[in-house]
Symmetry: C2
């Protein structure tokens, strides 16, 4: 079990002590604090003086509700990355909450390495607060310019397919995905739970979906949060996943539960991979996943002016609207409830005992090379296209088909690049006469295969056996952004289905 | 139980006899025969003389594989329409197989009523065969110009949302939907199983999904056909449906099973509605659905030139390609295996004892007014828009918001049209400031409602509590095409997601 034994036995034992969980909780509070500070503040980021109207942004726009849950996941994944020495990336599915990502990458230092203006001092922290959701600054979603962000937020529904694209041909990579429960209602996300039929446990990495049931989208409850637990379990079992539930609202109880669950889940993933690799058996395993049920806006004020906020759709956006003079003191109280003075030292730096909880170097989400594919990109080996030319001596003398010729060229690209080139298509390759590629490899299909099937295999390199433009586009994007090459084949008539993502 | 008792007790008893099933089988064979004839023949439609090369189309393009299964469903739904006196429409989800629809509407006469050139005689039948998939004729999918077609085929994934849109505010209507297993892989379809959280058992009708697992799409097996029955059951249970399985390949066994299952399912739908309406309880019921597993290309040749056809992806398109001279005799043998001389009389008319199996008049799928919405359309009552004008005396004198004003106008349209106008939006009404509408009615949400929820209800008229552009677009389209009015509210940035359907 060496691959997934604890790196640090002492730390492992620490976990059993309350002390470690208290530190984790503080780390989580630090990330939540920084997110609120980015949402509201222009100045006075650690409240070293009383909060003044001038410290506050004139227009407060970023949706907050999803932030504490996502910070919770990030903080906990940090722990397992360290404990198991994981090569893991994180994709944030919800459309907003970008300040959770900037808060976390600021805390672990990866943001400051890419953007020196967000330095680990008072000035850097001020800059960070001001820049978020501010003209010329950073967007309200986890955008592509945030370090470690492979999955651009905004249009919902592609987090799982992006994650899956990223782990193809990356056998040691785990892509954790926070799936928003609003996002989960979109078509592209709904069908992408089927990624587990296209992941090879030997040659690909693993995807760990964490469905974040915080109950509300912009104005309404989410469907998956309002069906019975039995239905939810059946749903995921039917889709071939093994769901683990982490549900509650008391932070310390939730920390303990999440630690235990994540340990179990990571060990399970590693064991499934070990078994498959040891026995050379690439049959689809039942991969684990997590259903994380938290309050919307968890830890924000319970009620303001008689209106319930925490745990309702009122927490989606701005928990404390700056509409009344006394709301400034409410905001100050909320910020101070995180005890920033216990989290940061006098030089505005995260305290060392908390900093020690984050992974180091390239193990941090903000610095993992797989989510910054350009750094890993190897040149595609291309055969000389001239040798595929159809010789002709005059008009009307030759009978040939363009895509059949093209398919010979594609076949050889696959041959020359067995580990970093794939073709993606929604079940349209043979009907487009891209046939020659099957001489080299097969279509990936990791559901049941029967003896009459000819062109499909658990281990193949052609991604054309799922009829969803959305899924195929997401796969391609994840594969490219993690530093590989690929192409997309579809009919012109159906290309508009994924217009919004392609453009 | 008068609403769903048998209309005709004798017929009911007939069902128990083999005689009735034999007739149903012949009706099915007649529809399959006509589909093959449309696919291949230009002339000699009932093979009254030996088949000659000149009788055959030069280019045979329509995909056949889905046809016999869809004909099977149509034939069986005809029976329950008659037996229970149902007001039912049918939507064909698979992208092709349009000749099943033209065959069936020709058999029941509704096609000939709309298109006199397809008369019920030799000439009409010849015209029908020639017109299908022929320049200037009819398309290979169930297009909007085919009588009774509310759901245009082609782009996959909208069959369930269209069906659901059609039954809103149509409490007596049942929309049966053949969902293709290829179609089921698309994002829009995958998320639309959730329609059951938006159908009100008192004021709306019912949707009966029939998932047609014939195992293959164009070139590959389908995922839902290649997971275990346990997973498939869990999947549908998790989505809140009660699945009934009809599986097999022996026609007579399958007829019996389908009769029994459909009887059970229709009675269940009616009982759920009766109970809800009697008790004024609009809580989401667990609606029944059917999983129909058949061979791909069921009843076509098992093997040609050593290549397996029936039950494989080779049956998707043209089971007998006209590539070798001896294939004409294979085609003739296949056509004659249906014994057309036992199905049609000497005047090329369907024999009366078979014709008697189809419903009459407006009960036929091809003539149901709900799938030809223009015939039912009532004018929308619009308030005078001038009374919503914002009075102003000069530039810069008035502070107002355009969409807030618009929302007053929309509120009153809802008020004046309580049964045939709905607003559709992917969770974006309050964020677009369309607030006033909630003074009149609530958002439809038929999953769990808790006491903190303010704007949602099982019975409402606003369709904005599901975050899927695809679903909302499908709902709107189904609502409009069945003869009502509606509007779609979304952000400009996200409108391109459904570009291909809108345009």
């Amino acid at each position: 079990m060496k691959n997934y034994s604890s790196k640090n036995e002492n730390e492992e034992n620490d976990l059993l002590t309350n002390d470690y969980l208290v530190k984790m909780n503080k780390y989580w509070q630090a990330s939540n604090y920084l997110a609120i500070a980015q949402q509201y503040l222009l100045d006075n980021p650690l409240l070293r003086k009383p909060l003044e109207p001038n410290d506050i942004k004139k227009r407060i726009v970023a949706p907050w509700g999803t932030v504490p849950g996502q910070n919770f996941v990030y903080t906990h994944l940090n722990r397992v990355i360290k404990k198991f020495d994981l090569n893991m990336i994180l994709l944030s599915g919800p459309g907003h909450g970008g300040h959770f990502w900037t808060a976390q990458t600021y805390l672990d230092g990866s943001l400051s390495e890419v953007y020196p203006q967000f330095s680990q001092d008072e000035k850097g922290l001020k800059n960070l607060c001001k820049a978020f959701c501010f003209p010329g600054g950073m967007s309200s979603h986890v955008a592509s310019d945030m370090p470690g962000s492979l999955h651009e937020g905004g249009e919902l529904g592609y987090s799982l397919s992006h994650a899956s694209g990223a782990v193809f041909d990356n056998p040691d990579l785990i892509a954790s995905v926070i799936v928003g429960d609003g996002e989960a209602e979109t078509g592209p996300l709904a069908t992408s739970w089927h990624i587990n039929k296209f992941i090879n446990p030997i040659t690909d990495g693993a995807v760990l979906p964490i469905l974040h049931l915080n109950g509300y989208k912009v104005a309404n409850p989410t469907v998956l949060a309002r069906i019975s637990k039995t239905e939810l379990k059946d749903f995921f079992k039917g889709l071939g996943w093994k769901p683990y539930f982490v549900e509650g609202s008391d932070p310390m109880t939730m920390h303990k539960l999440m630690c235990k669950t994540l340990d179990k889940v990571i060990i399970e993933i590693k064991e499934l991979q070990d078994t498959a690799r040891k026995n050379n058996d690439d049959t689809r395993p039942i991969w684990p996943m997590i259903v994380l049920r938290t309050l919307k806006g968890w830890t924000c004020p319970k009620e303001i002016d008689g209106v319930r906020i925490e745990g309702t759709h009122n927490a989606y956006h701005v928990p404390i609207p700056m509409t009344k003079p006394n709301h400034i003191s409410l905001l100050e109280k909320w910020l101070r409830s995180h005890k920033p003075e216990e989290l940061f030292d006098e030089k505005y730096k995260l305290k060392p005992e908390l900093k020690a909880l984050a992974p180091k170097g390239k193990s941090r989400f903000g610095a993992n090379l797989h989510s910054n594919g350009g750094t890993l990109l190897k040149e595609l080996k291309l055969p000389n296209f001239k040798k595929y030319a159809v010789p002709f001596s005059g008009h009307g003398t030759v009978n040939s088909q363009d895509t059949l010729v093209l398919s010979n060229f594609m076949r050889d690209i696959i041959k020359y690049n067995p580990e970093n080139f794939r073709i993606f298509s929604p079940d349209e390759l043979p009907s487009n006469r891209i046939n020659a590629i099957y001489e080299i490899t097969k279509s990936v299909f990791n559901a049941e295969i029967i003896k009459e099937d000819d062109n499909i295999a658990h281990g193949g390199r052609i991604m054309d056996s799922f009829l969803s433009e959305h899924m195929c586009e997401g796969w391609l994007e994840g594969y490219l952004l993690s530093g590989r090459h690929g192409t997309f084949v579809t009919y012109e008539a159906f290309a508009t289905i994924i217009n919004s993502m392609i453009s």
